[in-house]
Each structure stands twice: as structure tokens, then as C-alpha cells.
Symmetry: C2
Subunit: 546 residues, 2 copies
């Protein structure tokens, strides 16, 4: 029998268009051309200009031959070019790759080679390390310098030299304002590339598609409670999962981006008070900065400000401090592979009536799936069966849906492992509570989250093992009031060899970005299983006991 | 050269799931099981129960053999079973067809035959007309009576007899609570069917898909400014474009549906005051009811209530009246083919400073595209080129995107015409203003909108022509304070024949639903072109001049 609903009701350009966040910006620019889209230092960039500059960036890239599947890499702070890149690059079907600005030259070189970078846009703050990286890399991209006219006078870091063959402003100026930009051929096409530190060896390139970015924009708007013309302060680095997709999200409500190069208390309070910031995101360390700010750096403000945090559950003292300071804290959870947050601690009004401890315990849970994530559960990864929702049985957190990455670039094996059994394996260990909320209990992949940055303990261990005196070692997280967690190294020396803590740390600094270097080296016998496998949980126990 | 972004990055169940609104309800029920989802009379239905009852409805349908591509038709008021049907029916991959409860037996019979209805759920308010329709129809669906336990004591219409072989409550009770519901095989699969009155002969069946319904839920939430746990009053019939997709939309924010069988001022004010309604939708006549309510029917309330209106631009007096009564009015525009509203009069804050007349003129414009509509423009339909954005040049309003229907059921010709040139032809004539906002100037398809209902002037003319004395006729809209527009008939009698207005109206009543019957019959010579074509615009002119 013929199903009449599958006859003569096909897709055509009138009823089917690929989902993409580009159309959100087009709509905002057409509808609210004079509304301020971006505030950066003395600059006030209206939506009309934001759109025109993105178009011109796209046009300039096209003139250089950049097109479908080409990678455009940027090493930028939270500044206007970073926002322009989020639209201008996909407008020519190219893929945006944002470098973590804290990376060292070797990792940068690896990434631009792996991504086959064709164009590299570099803020002068980072030209030193990028120059080093280019010397190491095989890729020979077109390098463009961004010379920020609003580089703060009290900059903690000076501008570096120009290393590019072009200047960003001149490059944008070379583009056409009436450029005929391209919709993606398919919403499944790649829009961006974000490397995750991973656990073994080289970073993995997480690929996002237009479909996921477009859906994240809706679901972020909804879960963050972002109303029309909301004002968003850029405390979260845009190189992290494309700033949790907020560069695209804000276009939906024609919100205002407030740029911020360095996360410091005074500029944050100034932005909140002067620009009417309604939303910001960040790791717990950003909350600490706000509540521990010096009296002279603080400002008062009338609006309720929503602070979305992830990476670690907000502790009780921080929650109280934030409430006192006028912030509402929402606890989110996600990974690079999930476009940033994909889980939200959906708050029940009646929980407001709980005592402080019980309230904090509720807030500490990661929560339930975003509307755009179709599945979230905790499973035994061996059997792929759901663990009991008893709040106790530990399993691996699994997710599925349209805000899960396409996969890892040029790494089929890792993609297949991540998607085994039709679910994305987060690598995080957790429980499901009887009410369906999940809570992370441990990370199976040995990731240390310090100041919101992921550090692979295995990467640090690999470096330690290269020291001639190291026999065995293990790197684990130690709780830290300021950074959330810091890496500490347990080291067992080879018989007859000696090394001091300072020597070991020097060795680490030579091979690792600063934030990955252990905060302490403890010489000890490393606990091992009978088969010689290092017992990480025992090291964590030792770290806990100090 | 191989594009690495198209290698080994394919869809799998972990990273691709069909979009469907069903998962929104599942999420709301899991996250907020005790939150009230539906208020109806004395009933308070929490999300847990809403989900369970929808599951049981789906299960009961499956037990009757209902599955992919089958049509489940309902003739229901804005009551809980209507909401359950919006989820329970698509859970078994079937298609929900909502009958306009004001239709006459002949049109109902046509629709259930055309839709090949397998199951028909009927509220006892409408059993009389449905019984007649079943006698006329070839389709022999399973008929299920819904006997509303909260049928108001002061009902303006009495309950009719039972006509089904099953009772709705018993039917739901026969389903399993742990029913394994189905995701759609493809997000392009049909979710619902809505007949539009069309202009020639039989109604056309507009088919919606899961993808569009899911996207409408996001974009409605965003444009209506619906926050978490918003409270929605059902003044808009759910049989209109699936209630503009709000049955699905509310699940995104775990909002509360407040049901309403008859749109009358007192129950509306009571609901707003007693249940904290934050949003409602309706044609201008609903606003008139609110602002012209008798003193004793009014209630005061503290919250700002958003009223979304469509069908006709809100007049100045209505806007002022609504503002005084505590409502914020948003002007929307759309058609059955666009899932309900797809265009929104996005308000600029600075327009608040305009004087009343200028403000009303801004508010009268239909506006700009919904975020989920990818294209909206005004074109010359012959050349398919855009008309100048001068606010004067009239063209046909055209739209494209993911909230445009799949097409017309079993009517390829009509679908092809509607989608000619890759744009959906709305049939409405309008202009584009220099700021990109569109404004409807006339309807090319001779539709009269009366009390929010579409009336095809051609359908009424067809009936008039069947009267033995009618030589020529034309039905056009006359402005009406209460209904927005009402149909009036211009009739030219055959030479030597006579007929009174009362006779003509009696003839119309015998063949048309009450709301389609002209409000007046004017005997006159019908203006025609040299080739004999009736000049509708001259009749409209005559109607305007009274």
C-alpha cells in the first residue's frame, strides 16, 4: 500500500534550506542594523557593520582562493575579528579553526599541519609563539596580523611584532561589501574545528557542522534565558568550543557582544555596570575573581546577571558570594565534542526552599540534557546497558543527538571508539540520580581541569618520562582554591639517578605550555598493580591527603 | 584533492537524530514531572501524567494497527485530548489531522475521505455534525467519543450523543504506560495535516513534517519571549495550524497549558488572574472581547501578558485598549502553509517614542522573518524578481525555509504551483519597506478572514451560482468592528427571475457553515471587464463605501 505522505512531497528550495547560523546574523543585521552588535574598547559596532565586515572578510578569503573544506586558523583573543571570523569563514564554506591562545609552539605547529591551514590570522599579542610554531610547521599559510587599536593601555602583555604578510584591516578592506556569500551545500558540512587535548599523544580535531551550530544557537538562547537585545560579556574564551557557540547564539536575539581581552575583575565590573551586561560564562575561577575583587575594582549594578559556569560544580561559598554580588549561577556541563554545554542543571523552584547544604548539593549536579541533545544517560560501557538511577552506581556518561560532533578529523579510529554502540562516550564517570539528573563523579580519561583549561595528565607524563632520571611517574589533579584543580606529579627516580624538583620542573617548562606544568613534584614510590599498571586512584588519594 | 572534512565524518545514531517535538515533551516530563502541564476546569495534569497519557494513547493506537502514514483525525476543542493527540499520534509515526470544529458535514466528509482517516476522535460537542459527515463519507474510521468531564455547566452548546464505538478514556486506558514509542524514521516525515480553505473547489491538505514542528517550537519560544514555566492560555483554536505549533512549543520551556473550550471574556480574565497566564494568541476579535468586556467579567492581574495576534493589523484603538488592560501586543503573520506565524513585527525600542499614529503604522506592518524562516521577500511572481523596497511597489509575498509545508497532500499540481521558482507563493500581495519590513496590502486569493477564520469567497460564490435565480455574483470582505471582516455578496439576477435577500441567505445556509454565510446580499449589476471577468476590486470598493 502506498503511503500518500511519501508521494510528491519532496524537498525543494522553498521548503528546505540547510540549517546554518549565518542566516541569524543576516536577519539581525537586516532587522536591527543600528543596534550595537559589538562593544570593544572605544568601538561600537552596529549590526549593519558587523554583517558588512563579515561579508568583506568572506569576500577577501574567496579572493585568496579559500573555499569549501579549507581551514582558516585564528589565534585571537575575544575581539571583533574573532566574531567576524565566526561568520565570514563559513560564508565561503571554509572551516574555522580557533587556536587556544595558551598553547605552545609545538602544539600549534601540530594543529596547523594537521588542519592543513590555508590562512592564519594572528593577534599581535601572540605573534611570538606563532612565529616559533610556523618555523616548526610544514604548513605555509597566508599569515595575517591583527593589530588591535583598542589594545588596553595597561596591558599585562605587550604587543609582539608583525609576522604576517598582510594586515587584518587591509585584508577586510580588500573584500566586497556586496559579496554573494554561500549557504552551506549541506547542513552536515563542517563549520569549525576545535582541538581537544585528548589523553594520548596528539590532540584530536573535533569537527562541528552547520546543523549543530544552528541548533546550539536556539538551545543556548533558551537555556540561558537570553531575551531580545541581551548583553553578553566575553569572559569565556571564544577558542573554547567556539565560545560554547555563543558567537552564533547572540545573533538570534540581536544581542550585544562585549569583548574582553583579559579576564580581570575591574574590566568585568565596569562592563557589567556600564554596558548593562545580562549574561556571561566562565569556569569557576571567573566567579572567584568576581567575588574576591578588591573593593575599588567593584561596581554596583541593578540588573540580575546570569552566570553560566561549567568544568566543576560551584562550591557553596562561591554560590553564596555570587548571589550576594547580584549574579544567578547556572551550572552547565559539556565537552568539546558536544559543542560546549549540552547538559544543564535545570533548577526547580521548590529547591529554593532547601537549606544551604541541600541546595548546593542540588546545584552540584550536572543535570539534564539540553533541549537540542536527544539523549543523555549513564551506561556500563562494556555492556552498553543503563546503570540503575540510584545516585550511586557509577557508569560512563553517554550522549547522543544533533549537538554531538561530526567526528575527529582524519582519525577514524578515535571517532569509531567515541561513537561505539551509537552513543557518544564522554569518558566521564558519573551516576544518574533517581530524578534523572546526572552527576559526574570522576573522569576516566585523566583530564585535569585547571582554570577552565583541560590538561591531559598523560601528555604531562609523556614529558616527564623523557627526563633521563624518571623511572615511573603519575600526574593527577590536586584541588586548588584559585584554579579549581592543578596538576601535581608523582615521580619515582631510576636507581642510582638523582634529580631535584626544580630540575624536573625546568624540564617540563621546556616542553609544555605554562599552565600544564605541574605545581609540585613529589618523589615517591609509585603504587602499581601486580601487573605493573600505575594505580592512578591511589595517587589521587595521596594528592587529596596532601 | 580530497576534502578531509568529508572523509570518515558520517552520520550515526550518536551524532544525528531526527528533529521532532516529541523529545521536548519527553524531556519536560523527565525533568519536571510534577510541574502542572495542563489546566482544564478542575483538572491539574502534571507533566508526568501528560507524557504517560500520550504514551498510552500512542500504544492504544498501535494496538489498533495504526502506524506510519496513517491519519488520525480529531474534532476536538482546546482540551487535554487535543494536546495528547499532538504527541501520542506522531509517537506511532501516524499523522494528526485536526478538523476545524466549525465546518459543515460535507467538508468534514471530504476531508476524512481525502485524508483516508483511520481513527476519528470526536468531542461530544460536535457529534451531531460528525455523525452527518460519517453518513456522507466513504471512509469508515474507528470513531472514539471524548466525553469531557469538565464540560462547563453554563455551556452555550449542549453535549451531543455518543456516536463512537469507544470512549476516549477507555481507549487511553487500554494503552501501555511503558509503550516503546518511535522516533520518526526521518525528520522529513509527516507529523500533521491541516486543510486550508483554498480558493477553488475542495480544501487542500497542508502537510507538516517533524523537522518544521521541532524548529517552530524553538522559534516560537524565542519570538514570543516564552521563559521557563510560562503559562499559555488557549484562546487560539488548536485546529488552526496545530495552534500555531504552540502545543509542541510549550514543552520546550515546560510551560503550562490553560485549556479553554469557548472564547469568552470572563473565563479569559479568570484564567489570567487565577493561573498567572503570561501568553495567549488570537485574532483581533479576541482582543476586542478582552477590551470590551463587561465590568463584572474583568479581573485585575499583575503580570505583563503577551498577546500574539495575526490575520489583520491591530488598529490603534485596540492597541491602546490592550496596553491599558495590561497586555503587550505582538503582530505576527503567516499561513497554514507556514506552520502558522512565520513573520514577526520585530519592535524597535525607539519606536516607543513615536506618536500614536506613527506607532500604529509601524505595528500594522507584518514585519520580518522568524529566525527559522530562511527567506522572506516580495516579488513580481511573473519574473520572480524582487520588487523595489520602497514601501509602494506591490508584489507577491514569497517565503522559503524549514517552516514551509512539505506540500499539499495528493495534489502535486497545487504543490508545484505553490513552490514555483523555489519560493513559496503566499498569494498575499504586499510591499517591502525600505527597512526590509513587509506589509500586506491585499490578498490575491480572495480570502476573507472573519473572526480569524479563512473564508474562500470562491466557495461562497460557487454556492450562490447554484441558486436558480443568480446570473452573476461576487463575494468580498466588508470591514467589521467585531469580526475584522465579514463576507458580503453582490448578486445580479437572471433576467425575469426574482429572489429576496432572505431566500438567497437561506440557500447559503443550507450549503455552508454558518460563519461563511454572507452578512448581506446586495442586488446590483456586477462590474465586469470587457472579456466578462468580474472586477473584484470594484466590488471591494463598493463594499468599502458601504
Amino acid at each position: 500500500m502506498i503511503n500518500p505522505y511519501q508521494q510528491d512531497l519532496d524537498k525543494n528550495p522553498a521548503n528546505y534550506q540547510p540549517l546554518t547560523p549565518i542566516t541569524y546574523l543576516e536577519r539581525a543585521a537586516k532587522t536591527f542594523p543600528d543596534h550595537v552588535a559589538i562593544i570593544h574598547g572605544s568601538q561600537r559596532i552596529p549590526y549593519r557593520t558587523f554583517w558588512q565586515r563579515s561579508l568583506k572578510l568572506g569576500s577577501a578569503l574567496a579572493k585568496k582562493g579559500i573555499g569549501k573544506g579549507d581551514t582558516v586558523t585564528v589565534m585571537l583573543s575575544n575581539t571583533p575579528p574573532m566574531l567576524e571570523a565566526h561568520f565570514g569563514v563559513p560564508m565561503v564554506k571554509a572551516v574555522l579553526h580557533c587556536l587556544n591562545t595558551r598553547l605552545d609552539a609545538a602544539v600549534i605547529a601540530f594543529q596547523i599541519d594537521h588542519a592543513e591551514t590555508k590562512v592564519l590570522i594572528v593577534d599581535r599579542e601572540f605573534s611570538g609563539v606563532v612565529k616559533e610554531a610556523l618555523a616548526l610547521a610544514n604548513a605555509k599559510p597566508l599569515v595575517i596580523d591583527y593589530d588591535d587599536p583598542d589594545y588596553a593601555a595597561d596591558a599585562p602583555y605587550p604587543k609582539g611584532e608583525r609576522i604576517g604578510s598582510l594586515d587584518y584591516e587591509a585584508f577586510v578592506a580588500s573584500g566586497d561589501e556586496d559579496f554573494a556569500w554561500s549557504m552551506p551545500d549541506d547542513e552536515w558540512d563542517a563549520i569549525s574545528l576545535n582541538y581537544t587535548s585528548g589523553t594520548t599523544g596528539n590532540p584530536k580535531g573535533v569537527v562541528y557542522h552547520h546543523r549543530g551550530a544552528a541548533l546550539m544557537a536556539y538551545t543556548n538562547t533558551i537555556h540561558a534565558g537570553m531575551g531580545k537585545h541581551c548583553v553578553y560579556l566575553w569572559t569565556l574564551p571564544m577558542f573554547h568550543c567556539n565560545g560554547w557557540c555563543f558567537p552564533w547564539t547572540l545573533a538570534v536575539q540581536a544581542g550585544t557582544h562585549v569583548c574582553l581581552r583579559w579576564v580581570r575583575a575591574k574590566p568585568m565590573y565596569d562592563a557589567i555596570a556600564d554596558h548593562g551586561v545580562t549574561h556571561l560564562c566562565g569556569a569557576p575561577i571567573v566567579m572567584s575573581l568576581l567575588i574576591n575583587a578588591a573593593e575599588e575594582d567593584r561596581r554596583t549594578f541593578d540588573q540580575l546577571v546570569t552566570f553560566n559556569t561549567a568544568a566543576a560544580p560551584p562550591p557553596e561559598a562561591v554560590l553564596s558570594g555570587m548571589a550576594d554580588a547580584g549574579f544567578a549561577v547556572t551550572h552547565l556541563y559539556g565537552l568539546t565534542e558536544t559543542y560546549g554545554p549540552a547538559v544543564v542543571n535545570e533548577w526547580h523552584t521548590e529547591w529554593d526552599g532547601l537549606d544551604k547544604g541541600a541546595r548546593t548539593a542540588k546545584k552540584a549536579r550536572q543535570g539534564v540534557r539540553y533541549a537540542a541533545l536527544e539523549g543523555l544517560t549513564v551506561m556500563d560501557p562494556e555492556t552498553m546497558t543503563q546503570t540503575p538511577a540510584d545516585g550511586e552506581t557509577i557508569g560512563e556518561v553517554m550522549a547522543r543527538g544533533n549537538i554531538i560532533m561530526k567526528g575527529y578529523l582524519k582519525n577514524r579510529k578515535a571517532s569509531d571508539e567515541a561513537f561505539a554502540g551509537g552513543w557518544f562516550h564522554t569518558g566521564d564517570l558519573g551516576v544518574m540520580h533517581p530524578d534523572g539528573y546526572i552527576q559526574i563523579k570522576d573522569r576516566s580519561k585523566d583530564i585535569i581541569i585547571s582554570g577552565g583549561e583541560n590538561i591531559s595528565s598523560i601528555e604531562v607524563e609523556d614529558v616527564l618520562y623523557k627526563h633521563p632520571a624518571v623511572q615511573a611517574c603519575g600526574v593527577v589533579a590536586r584541588a586548588d582554591e584559585k584554579w579549581g584543580e592543578v596538576p601535581v606529579a608523582y615521580v619515582e627516580l631510576k636507581p642510582g639517578k638523582t634529580a631535584t624538583e626544580a630540575e624536573i620542573l625546568d624540564h617540563c617548562r621546556s616542553a609544555l605550555a605554562r599552565f600544564k606544568v605541574p605545581k609540585a613534584v613529589i618523589f615517591a614510590e609509585i603504587p602499581k598493580t601486580s601487573t605493573g599498571k600505575i594505580q592512578k586512584f591511589r595517587l589521587r588519594e595521596m594528592a587529596r591527603q596532601g
